[in-house]
Structure formats: structure tokens, C-alpha cells
């Protein structure tokens, strides 16, 4: 531990809800700039972990640091350095594309000038020039998702947490979405992504697989396939789940 290349360090993270143990002694680290896949079946405890790392929930015990800050004492500092996109679609449906961008950029304390600059750039990049004054509710799901991701990284965070970002999205949009993730990663943003699409796991640099609150495997996709003698991460997952 205490490696300068690690942006997230988790040691023996435990989270209990009453007697139910959602996270059972997790230990892992995420390296700066990598795309870290966090896999697991529904209810395996992925969202709980993400919520703890984002400061939405406090751990029962364990040593955890995010972007160099302690999750117990420095949540406010962590919040300035992370972006977050939840499972639930999280833009304001009754605001326009432009208003949504400006609102979230404003929350992260960007200056007026920066907001104007970045929202203009973003709208252009997503090809939403004609739709920029339309309310979000009227856009197709895929576009909303891409916009939500762009907004989650509008303030250039060190890390972005994506909680099942591609749920309910068609394969083509998913592909485009992953292109955007690569681009963000290329720009130096660490990506922490949960998913239950196993093909997406292949896009990650390193993958951890969770089951019943524990991390049962953590390696590169290639490493995992080799260790478990499988042809795809999907197969690895099925072997582990059994």
C-alpha cells in the first residue's frame, strides 16, 4: 500500500446493514488512469462499495482512501475530485440539455466563463447543437446516457464512478459509450465502472469479481482467463458463481 500510483486504496472494508454483511472485508486498489471493472451479480455488493467510495455511505470498518483522502474525515475533499453517474438516470428531465450541463457545472464550482466554454464544447462534441434547447425528457435513452456521462466528468475529476452506466442501452450505443470511457481514460481520468455485462469486462484493464459481498477474483481479463482456463470473462464469472 501507500503506492503513489494507486488512486483508490481499500483495506478490509466491511459494511454491515444490521446483521446483513454487504461488503465482507474487501481489499483492493485502483491504479491511476486505469479502467477498473467491478463485476458481480445483482446484490453482490457493488453499489454499496461505490456508495462508500463516493462518501454517500459510511463504512462499518476498514481503511479506505480515495484520491489520497480518507473517506472518514475528508469526504468533502473527495467529493471535489470525483465524478459519479448512478444506475438511475440522473439528469433533470424537465430542464434542457444546456441547462443540465450548466447546472451541474455550476454545482462543481466552475466559473461562468468555464461553464460557457465547456458546455459549448460538450454540445458540439456530442453533436447536440440542434437539440441543446430541448428538454432532456424528449431525448432518446442512449443520448441521455452519453450526456449524463459527459456531465459526470465535466469538472475534470481524478476518478469517475460509473454504476451500471449502460443498463437498458442498445449494443451500438454501448459501444459508443465505451469509446467515451476510453477517451476519458486517455485524458487521465481513472474510471471505476460496475457492470453485469460480461463482454464489457473485456474492455477493462483490470477486473474484480464480487460474489456475496466478497471479492473472489482480481486480475486483468487475460490473466483471469488464463487462471480459470476460460475463453471469456463470462466463462470465468460463471465458474466462480458456481
Amino acid at each position: 500500500m501507500d503506492n503513489k500510483n494507486n488512486i483508490i486504496e481499500v483495506e478490509n472494508l466491511v459494511k454491515k446493514f444490521g446483521r446483513f454483511v454487504a461488503n465482507d472485508s474487501l481489499t483492493f486498489e485502483v491504479r491511476k488512469g486505469e479502467i477498473f471493472g467491478f463485476l458481480g451479480a445483482n446484490g453482490a455488493g457493488k453499489t454499496t462499495t461505490i456508495r462508500i467510495l463516493c462518501g454517500l455511505s459510511s463504512p462499518t470498518s476498514g481503511k479506505i482512501s480515495v484520491a489520497g483522502f480518507d473517506v472518514y474525515k475528508e469526504t468533502e475533499k473527495i467529493k471535489k475530485h470525483i465524478g459519479y453517474m448512478s444506475q438511475k438516470f440522473s439528469l433533470y428531465e424537465d430542464l434542457t440539455v444546456k441547462e443540465n450541463i450548466e447546472f451541474y457545472a455550476g454545482i462543481y464550482g466552475l466559473s461562468r466563463n468555464e461553464i460557457r466554454q465547456r458546455s459549448g464544447k460538450l454540445i458540439k462534441k456530442l453533436g447536440l447543437e440542434e437539440e441543446k434547447d430541448m428538454v432532456i425528457g424528449s431525448l432518446p435513452q442512449g443520448w441521455k446516457q452519453k450526456l449524463a456521462f459527459s456531465i459526470a466528468i465535466i469538472h475534470d475529476p481524478d476518478i469517475v464512478f460509473l454504476d451500471e452506466p449502460t443498463g437498458g442501452v442498445d449494443p451500438i450505443t454501448r459501444r459508443q459509450f465505451w469509446d467515451m470511457i476510453y477517451e476519458a481514460s486517455h485524458n487521465g481520468i481513472t474510471v471505476f465502472v460496475t457492470t453485469h455485462y460480461m463482454d464489457e469486462a473485456e474492455y477493462c484493464e483490470r477486473v474484480s469479481i464480487m460474489a456475496e459481498g466478497k471479492i473472489v477474483a482480481l486480475d486483468t481479463p487475460a490473466g483471469l482467463k488464463k487462471t480459470f482456463n476460460a475463453s471469456s470473462v463470462d466463462e470465468v464469472f460463471l465458474k466462480l458463481a458456481r
Binding site: 448512478s86 438511475k88 462543481y108
Partner: protein, 347 residues
């Protein structure tokens, strides 16, 4: 479950007990200028009727106004000089009935009961003597001489509206953010929880305030309802009530996860008790003691007292500081509870 089973029971009980236009133990004051046997007999008859309770015997006309201001006394009965003598000689005597008409319904009922007791006495008086006599009731409605029901309606409309806009709308709008997931994003952002709540609440303070002022203006220009008391005091009390309602709304939203739940809690938990137990429709004085005690927990009850006092009776903070303090206390409690709940939710 509690709501499904408990609600009908509560409603039936409230409706059953509360919907009554009968009066019981209404507090009155008497000025007896003649103190003769007839006036004493009438007093006796009034007080033994179970409808009225003697609060005090006054001796000076100046005390009338003051006793009404206290808010407890609903009616003052004045016997003229030489009551028995005039009844004997002139075959007619006057009783002046002054009622607190800041609640026109109540005043009407009280006055009618009094008048019919007087009639009753008149009949029994004649029965023994075979002389036609008349006791002339001279009725005066204080604070609202024309018995305009709008005078009563308006303060209550303000109360209900502020409650609706402030408490219900805030709780729904915060619950909406939770439901849609935007609240999570806000919580992950560097914004402090306090900033988020203030941001959500501020528009409704303005909105509620504009609404209250609109109603006041409408009342003044359309219905001719004056504001007797201090305008600034009135607006400050309005502001206090709005903040109270907002903190209640926040409290509800910390409990409710969806807009629907927030709406149901606001409607069943706030609106119905507000309408039924704040003296909005049914006079509190006539309710069973338990309901009266519960009504004490309803913020609108106190606000209605305050705003009626300021608007109709024109009295100042000296007479309503107690009610104001109660509202203030409730606000503090609600805010405290919601801050606690808000933190617990984050754990």
C-alpha cells in the same frame, strides 16, 4: 399498514365528534347593571344551560374590549339599569349581547342560543303574571359587524395555502429528486447538505410569501377586509409560519422515498388534520377534550389564532407572543428532527 387500518378509525372519530354545531361551555362575561332578581334569574338560567360558562363579571364597559382580546371570551351580556323595574313598568327591557365575530359561525350560534334562552325566560316570566312583556336582545357583532364569512375564511385560506405550498410542495420536490436519482448526484457533489436543502426550500419561501400577500391584497381590495393590526408583524408571522411549514416538508421528505409517499403523508398527515383540527371548519371549543389536546399539536391552530388576532382585532405581539413562541418552538423541533434524519439516511 398503520395508515390503512388507523386512518379510517381516526377519520370516523374525528368526523363523529367534531362535526357538531352544538356549543358547550362557551366562556362568557356578564355586566349586570341592575343586579336585581330578574337579571340574576336570567344569568342563572344561562349558566345552568351547559352551553355557557361564566368567565368573569365585568363592571366597566372598557373591560369588554380587553376581555375579547384575550380570545377566551366569546360573548358579553349586558343587562341595562333597573332591568326588573323596566320590565314591570314598561313591559320591556333591554339586554345587550356582544359577540366576538372574528369567527362568524361561532358568534352566530352563540348569539342564537342566548336569544332563545332569553325568549324562554320571557315565556316563563309571563306565564306567572299574564302580562305581555318583551326582553329585547340588542345584538352586536364585534370585529365583524356584517358577519362576513370571508373575514373568517381568509385567514384560514392563507393558512391552508401556505401549508399546502410550503409543506407539501417541498416534501414532494425533494422526494422527486430522490426518486429520479438526482439527489444522489447532488449529494456526491461538493455541495453541503445544508446548501442543497436551502436551495430546495428558498423558492418556496418566496412563493409562499407572494401567495400570502396576494390573498391579503385580494381580501382588502375585493372583500374589503382590513388589516387592523401591524402589517409588519403580520408579515413576520406569515414568514415564521412558512418556515415552519417548510421544515415540516423537509421532515416528511426525509421519511418518504417517493413523490407519492410524500404526497400521501402530506395530504393525510397534514391537510386533513389541518382542516379538521385547526378550527378551520369545526369550532375547536366544542370538541371532546382529547381532540382539543391533539389540536394543540397542530401548528395551523396557533397560526390562525395569531393572524385572526392581528387582522381582525388589531392586537400586537403582547397578546400573541405565546402562540408565536409555540410556532417558533415547533419550527426548531422540525428542523432538528430533519437534520438528524438527513444524516441518518446518509449512513
Amino acid at each position: 399498514m398503520l395508515i390503512i387500518i388507523g386512518m379510517p378509525i381516526v377519520q370516523v372519530l374525528i368526523f363523529g365528534f367534531a362535526i357538531t354545531n352544538e356549543i358547550k361551555d362557551v366562556q362568557i362575561a356578564i355586566i349586570d347593571n341592575s343586579k336585581d332578581e330578574v337579571s340574576r334569574e336570567i344569568t342563572q338560567k344561562l349558566l345552568s344551560s351547559e352551553y355557557f360558562l361564566l368567565n368573569s363579571n365585568l363592571s366597566d364597559y372598557n373591560e369588554i374590549e380587553e376581555s375579547f382580546r384575550g380570545g377566551k371570551i366569546k360573548e358579553v351580556i349586558i343587562f341595562e339599569n333597573d332591568f326588573a323595574f323596566k320590565l314591570q313598568r314598561d313591559k320591556s327591557a333591554q339586554v345587550q349581547i356582544i359577540a366576538d365575530a372574528s369567527d362568524p359561525n361561532m358568534a352566530n350560534i352563540v348569539v342564537n342560543y342566548t336569544a332563545s334562552i332569553l325568549k324562554d325566560y320571557q315565556r316563563s316570566y309571563m306565564a306567572g303574571k299574564y302580562i305581555p312583556v318583551t326582553i329585547v336582545p340588542e345584538i352586536k357583532m364585534l370585529y365583524n359587524e356584517e358577519l362576513k364569512s370571508v373575514f373568517m375564511f381568509l385567514p384560514r385560506a392563507i393558512t391552508i395555502l401556505l401549508m399546502l405550498i410550503s409543506a407539501m410542495m417541498t416534501s414532494i420536490s425533494i422526494a422527486r429528486e430522490k426518486e429520479l436519482g438526482t439527489m444522489e448526484v447532488l449529494l456526491v457533489s461538493p455541495l453541503k447538505p445544508m446548501q442543497i436543502i436551502l436551495g430546495k426550500v428558498f423558492p418556496y419561501i418566496i412563493l409562499g410569501f407572494i401567495n400570502a400577500v396576494t390573498i391579503l391584497l385580494l381580501g382588502y381590495y375585493v372583500f374589503g377586509m382590513p388589516v387592523q393590526g401591524n402589517m409588519i408583524l403580520l408579515l413576520l408571522e406569515v414568514l415564521l409560519f412558512i418556515i415552519m411549514a417548510l421544515s415540516l416538508g423537509i421532515l416528511i421528505s426525509t421519511i418518504a422515498k417517493t413523490q407519492q409517499t410524500a404526497m400521501i403523508i402530506s395530504l393525510l398527515g397534514l391537510m386533513l388534520p389541518t382542516i379538521l383540527l385547526s378550527g378551520f371548519i369545526f369550532p375547536l371549543e366544542n370538541m371532546p377534550i382529547i381532540l382539543q389536546l391533539i389540536a394543540n399539536l397542530m401548528p395551523p391552530k396557533w397560526f390562525i389564532i395569531i393572524i385572526k388576532a392581528i387582522m381582525l382585532k388589531g392586537i400586537g405581539i403582547a397578546f400573541i407572543w405565546k402562540e408565536t413562541l409555540i410556532l417558533l418552538g415547533m419550527t426548531v423541533i422540525f428542523i432538528g428532527l430533519s437534520v438528524r434524519n438527513f444524516k441518518v439516511r446518509l449512513e
